[in-house]
Each structure stands twice: as structure tokens, then as C-alpha cells.
């Protein structure tokens, strides 16, 4: 990979709540290359969505605040950009799609108007030219009879269609990065697959980098090149999807992996990771996964740094070396010698 499209360094995002200040994102770093899909995966509350919102600086003010780090994009630090310049980046260079297609479109405007608005604003096209572009984009995202759909209101479309309209809006100005925040969570499984394939097709057509936020390991396996696993605001493991799935180097990744139901294997109960994500106001001082970890040991009480073992692969576990060597199973199973 050459110079990455986007480089996030030591991102910290905090929220002020009634019970105190909490770190929803704590020292997150990653890179995203052109034409690449990086999946950020984790449970609810792991900080993956806040990470996504932090990049275009959309964290809800005034409670949320990006407290530190840098986001390098086209030679500039987005976190240091004046608001007016940042607005030029949003929608034009970095676009975003959201989880809820039902509520992500403005109910009082037609779909065509909403797609065209972004074009008028960023490319200063005339209304007519922008409408033509809108219809073209609707066709591109696979909406049948786009001229007619452009004149319809969001409530007249199904959820899958609305998510396509959202994608058309996000991509109308040909951004170089698409951030997709759980784009298929609210959709049927069959529609999910169609939407993800659409994103993949448009990614290769337009050479975008895609940051895919999801909690679905199946989606990661199918559609991502690399994966960053987040737990309690931190990245706990990162690497190529294939190698991470072949042998997780962090007990949390292994636990997530093990809790996937498998075809052909009869299970009385779904396997779960015992316990719950710790309260962000009271994270453990050491490894944040330690209270739930099946292989905890001496040294887990110390803060865990993200260690690199094998080039691209990173793990936030001091026993990662043993996982890599195969002498310890991160899910806690007996290791046959």
C-alpha cells in the first residue's frame, strides 16, 4: 500500500455526561487506502460509531468533543481545519451513510431534490443539471425507473430503496472516502447483501476507500479487506481479514468469532461472551477486557499497549505471542500439543 488516503492517529473523543467525562474513543489509530475497505467491528458501546462520526467532525456538540489526535487527509489535518473548510470536505471528499434509512432522508423533500441539493452546493451546477445528475445517480445505485423515483417522497419508498437513495446522495459528488455506519443493520438479510454488493461495486468503479462500521462478522468476512476490532473505546486487534479470522490474536476477537452460530453444528444455546461491556466512566485500569477474559493471567492488570507482532497485525494483549505461536487458545480451549 502506498501513501494511505486517510491516516488517523491517536484519536480521542470524549463526552461530558452527568456522571462525569467519558472517553468513548481512546487512542484509535488506523489507515485507509484508496480502493480498500476497512471494517471497524465491535459490540454496541465499543466506540465504533463515535469513531466514524469523529472523522468528519460530526460528534454532537456541545457534549461530545474530539479531545486529541490527528486525521490526515490530502496533506491536511481535518481536526485542525476551520469549520468552513471542513464543510467543503464533508459530502464532497468524505461522505457518510447511516444506519437508519427510514429516518436518514428528509421526509418533506423528494428524493431527487435531496440528491440534487448536494450537487448544487458542492459543484455549483444549475438546478436542472443537478436534477439530471440526481437521476443518473439514482440509476447508478440500481433504482428502477429513476426519473419517477426522483419525484417521489421518501415515505413512498421501501427501506432498501431509501438506503440506495442515501448512497446516491453520499456519492453524488464523487467523494474519495465513504464512511458507512452500519449501513445494513436495519434492512432484511437479502437487501443487506444487495446494498453491500452495491457499495463494493461503486467502490471499485470510483476508487474510493470505504470505512465500514458494523457489528456483523459475516459482513466483515464477505466485504472487508482489513478489520479493526474495537472494544471499550480501543482497537484491540487489527489486521488482514483473512489472517484475523484464521487465528485471532486477542481473546475478545476469538470470543466474537466463537459466538457466531455455525451452519451444520447443533447448539443448544448460542455461545456468548459472559459479562457486559464495562461502563465507560469506570473502565478497568489494566486490560479492559480482563473481567470477561477466559485466559486472564498475571500482567492483565497493567494497561495494555497495542503491539505489532507480524507487520500489519496488531493486538492489545500481552499474551498475543502465545496465541501467534499456537501455544495458547485465545478462546480458552485446551490446546492439544
Amino acid at each position: 500500500m502506498n501513501e494511505p488516503l486517510l491516516r488517523v492517529e491517536h484519536l480521542v473523543t470524549e463526552f461530558v455526561t452527568d456522571t462525569g467525562r467519558i472517553r468513548a474513543v481512546d487512542d484509535v489509530s488506523f489507515e485507509l487506502g484508496a480502493g480498500e475497505t476497512l471494517a471497524v467491528v465491535g459490540e454496541s458501546g465499543s466506540g465504533k460509531s463515535v469513531t466514524a462520526l469523529s472523522l468528519p467532525r460530526l460528534v454532537a456538540q456541545p457534549r461530545g468533543r474530539i479531545a486529541g489526535g490527528r486525521v490526515w487527509f490530502q496533506g491536511r489535518d481535518l481536526l485542525a481545519l476551520p469549520d468552513a473548510d471542513m464543510r467543503q470536505v464533508r459530502g464532497r471528499a468524505i461522505s457518510m451513510i447511516f444506519q437508519e434509512p427510514m429516518t436518514s432522508l428528509n421526509p418533506v423533500f423528494t428524493c431527487g431534490d435531496q440528491v440534487a441539493e448536494a450537487v448544487v452546493l458542492h459543484e455549483r451546477l444549475s438546478r436542472r443539471a443537478a436534477q439530471a445528475r440526481a437521476v443518473e445517480m439514482l440509476a447508478k445505485v440500481g433504482i428502477p425507473s429513476p426519473e419517477q423515483r426522483a419525484r417521489e417522497y421518501p415515505h413512498q419508498l421501501s427501506g432498501g430503496m431509501r438506503q440506495r437513495v442515501m448512497i446516491a446522495m453520499a456519492l453524488a459528488c464523487r467523494p474519495s472516502i465513504l464512511i458507512a455506519d452500519e449501513p445494513t443493520t436495519a434492512l432484511d438479510v437479502t437487501i443487506q447483501a444487495q446494498i453491500l454488493e452495491l457499495i463494493e461495486r461503486l467502490k471499485s468503479e470510483m476508487g474510493m476507500g470505504v470505512l465500514l462500521i458494523t457489528h456483523d462478522l459475516g459482513v466483515v468476512a464477505e466485504h472487508a479487506d482489513r478489520v479493526a476490532v474495537m472494544y471499550a473505546g480501543q482497537i484491540v486487534e487489527q489486521g488482514e481479514v483473512a489472517s484475523v479470522f484464521r487465528g485471532p490474536w486477542h481473546p475478545y476477537t476469538a470470543g466474537l468469532h466463537a459466538s457466531l452460530p455455525r451452519l451444520g453444528v447443533r447448539q443448544e444455546h448460542l455461545r456468548v461472551i459472559p459479562g457486559a461491556v464495562p461502563n465507560p466512566a469506570r473502565f478497568p485500569a489494566g486490560c479492559r477486557f480482563e473481567p470477561r477474559c477466559p485466559v486472564r493471567a498475571e500482567g492483565c492488570g497493567q494497561p495494555q499497549p497495542l503491539v505489532s507482532l507480524d507487520g500489519d497485525r496488531l493486538s492489545r494483549c500481552h499474551r498475543a505471542g502465545a496465541f501467534a505461536a499456537g501455544t495458547l487458545d485465545p478462546a480458552g480451549a485446551e490446546v492439544r500439543a
Binding site: 460530526l58 470536505v89 464533508r90 429516518t103 436518514s104 428528509n106 441539493e117 452546493l121 417521489e152 413512498q156
Partner: protein, 365 residues
């Protein structure tokens, strides 16, 4: 193949819902009629609003007749009257002098709609006879003509006032809800300050800023400005609440993610979503502006004589003598105000039902 027809557009749902409410339609028709009457007041009124008839003070309403002692007449007529008791203002009809009503008669000159100069009036009787279908007041002025001219003031004061106060309320409420923080606090404390002062006192105090001897048009504008200045605060508070809800919608985040500016998001994406509330609120609060003008004119600081407004017409019906001997001075403007306020309320109720999403998303029930 579409399995079913696509759902209706919001506009069609709205019309279908409105059609189910006959009271709202009746209210709308009555209001439409009143506004047309006010618009064409100079043409419809037989006399100018300030024309005094020094021979006929407190003349009672004349009845329009078709049948006289000599049988059926082809055109309606009124009997000429003579004053029989100068102290009690008693007028007797003279059946020997029928005065046929003539249409499109020439009278005082005026400019219709402000541009078309003419002197044709819809109806009248041959001079020196007079026609007073709604009677005359203490200065011998035709109540019908004053009602029509007064409607121009009383009916528009609400609409213009709403335009000003709702523009203010939407903008300030929108900014307050969307920006939040110190801006929000400042605007909201401002509205509380305004709302905590008794409004009648505030109106009268502000009325003192405007010189009493201004031309009536400027006084009118001043009154509208005063009423609007008081009216925006409560709306701004409601709009702020609505905006607080809407700004958490994902489409607002989506608009931010597309790089739209704050003002654009407020004006194009948030406020249009409050429109169904705003339309209803506007319809329901126009009557309070009309009544506000009535109150001001009634206590003598509103529209100044000789210009007519429904409020200063009511002002003439304050004494017991007026109520007992000249009741038309109360009934005529009173009925006009009553009908207008009721019509706005019916229309507003109907609009609220028609725009209520809980009723409209159910489809064709």
C-alpha cells in the same frame, strides 16, 4: 409489476383528510368570502367610510323590500324615512316614497385595488335618498360601508401580524434549538422576559411610543408591529422544542455529513418539518391578532377615527343607550368578529386533523 399502487403524495392525503371535515371547509369558505369582501370594499360599499349624513344620526337598518302597496316590484327598494323624534332618533318609513335600489351607480371616486380609478359602486339609490342596510352610527356614517372598510384593517392585521411574528419565531426558535448552548439560553430568557410582562400593559406601553396623531395607515402598521412583537415569543418556544427533536433525526446528521451550513440546515431541513404545526398554529392564532386590534381600538389607542376598524366600531356600542336603542352598532361588528374568529378556529381544527401524521400515515382507512 408493482404489487400495489404507490402511496399518495402528502398533498393528496392532506386534501382527502380535509374533505372529511365540513366545518373546516365552511370556515375556509366564510373566510374566503370575507377577504374578498374586504378586498373589494370600496366597490361594494355604497358610501366612503368617513362620509357623514348630518340628517340621519343613529338611523336604524332599512329593510330591503320587493312588495309594496302597489304590488310586486321588479327591483328591490327601500322606503325613504323621515325623522319624527329628534331626541330619540326615531325614523318613520314613508310608504309613498319607495326608492328603488340601482346597481353600478356612480358615487364617490376611489381606486379599486389601489390602481383602478373609478366611481362606480355596486349599488345605491338615487340622490338625495340614502340607503342604510345596516343603519348609521352617531355621526350618521353608513355602518355597512364602515364594516367593509373596517374589515380591510381587522382581517389583514392578523395575517400581516402572523407573517412578522412567525418569521421571527421560526428563525429565533430554530436557531435557539439547533445551536443550543449560550445562544439558546439568551433567546429563551428573552422570550420569558417578554412573556412575563402582562401583554395588555405591554401593548399600551408600546403604543405610547407611536405618536397618536400619525396617519391611520402608519398607526395600523404600528399596531401590527406591536402585536407581532408580543406574539413571536410563545411560538419561538414551541419551535425550539420541535427543533430539539428534529435535530436528533438522522437526516439532520446526514445533512451535516453532506457539508451543508448551519443556516441551510435550519432553514431547509429542520424548519420545513415543523410546517404542519406552524400552519395550524398560525391559523389558530390569527384570531388573537384580530381580537388584539379590536381591544386596542376599543380602548381608543388603536385605529383612529374616522378610519374604520371593527374594534372602533364596537367602541361606539359601549353605552347602555346604544345597546338598548341602537343595537345594530353592537350586532353588526360583533357578528363580523364572531364569525371570523369562529371560522379561523374551525379551519385551524380541520387543518390540525388533516396534517396530523397519526391520522394520515394510516393510508386510506
Amino acid at each position: 409489476m408493482e404489487p400495489e399502487a404507490p402511496p399518495d403524495s402528502p398533498w393528496r392525503i392532506f386534501r382527502r383528510q380535509l374533505r372529511r371535515s365540513p366545518l373546516a371547509i365552511a370556515g375556509g369558505v366564510v373566510l374566503g368570502l370575507f377577504y374578498v369582501l374586504a378586498l373589494f370594499a370600496p366597490f361594494l360599499a355604497p358610501y366612503p367610510e368617513d362620509a357623514m349624513d348630518r340628517e340621519r344620526y343613529f338611523h336604524p337598518p332599512q329593510s330591503l323590500r320587493w312588495v309594496g302597496p302597489d304590488g310586486l316590484h321588479l327591483r328591490p327598494f327601500v322606503y325613504a324615512t323621515t325623522l319624527t323624534d329628534a331626541g330619540g332618533f326615531v325614523y318613520d318609513e314613508d310608504p309613498s316614497r319607495p326608492q328603488p335600489v340601482r346597481f353600478f351607480v356612480r358615487g364617490s371616486a376611489y381606486a379599486l385595488l389601489g390602481i383602478l380609478s373609478t366611481d362606480v359602486h355596486l349599488f345605491g339609490v338615487d340622490a338625495p335618498g340614502r340607503i342604510y342596510l345596516f343603519g348609521t352610527d352617531a355621526f350618521g356614517r353608513d355602518v355597512l360601508s364602515r364594516l367593509l372598510f373596517g374589515g380591510q384593517v381587522s382581517l389583514t392585521v392578523g395575517v400581516v401580524g402572523i407573517l412578522i411574528s412567525f418569521t421571527l419565531g421560526l428563525l429565533l426558535g430554530g436557531i435557539s434549538g439547533y445551536v443550543g448552548g449560550l445562544t439558546d439560553t439568551a433567546i429563551m430568557r428573552g422570550t420569558e422576559l417578554l412573556l412575563s410582562i402582562p401583554s395588555l400593559y405591554l401593548i399600551i406601553a408600546m403604543r405610547n411610543i407611536i405618536p397618536i396623531d400619525l396617519p391611520s395607515q402608519q398607526v395600523y402598521l404600528g399596531i401590527v408591529a406591536i402585536l407581532a412583537f408580543i406574539g413571536w415569543a410563545s411560538l419561538a418556544r414551541v419551535i425550539r422544542g420541535l427543533v430539539l427533536t428534529i435535530r436528533r433525526s438522522e437526516f439532520v446528521t446526514a445533512a451535516e455529513a453532506l457539508g451543508y451550513s448551519r443556516l441551510r440546515i435550519i432553514a431547509r431541513h429542520i424548519l420545513p418539518n415543523t410546517m404542519s404545526y406552524v400552519i395550524v398554529a398560525a391559523t389558530l392564532s390569527i384570531p388573537s391578532y384580530i381580537l388584539g386590534e379590536v381591544v386596542l381600538s376599543f380602548i381608543g389607542v388603536g385605529v383612529q377615527e374616522p378610519s374604520a376598524s371593527w374594534g372602533n366600531m364596537l367602541n361606539q356600542a359601549r353605552s347602555i343607550r346604544a345597546l338598548t336603542s341602537f343595537p345594530w352598532l353592537l350586532y353588526v361588528p360583533g357578528a363580523a368578529i364572531f364569525l371570523t374568529v369562529m371560522a379561523f378556529n374551525f379551519l385551524g381544527d380541520g387543518l390540525r386533523d388533516a396534517l396530523d401524521p397519526r391520522r394520515t400515515t394510516g393510508g386510506r382507512a
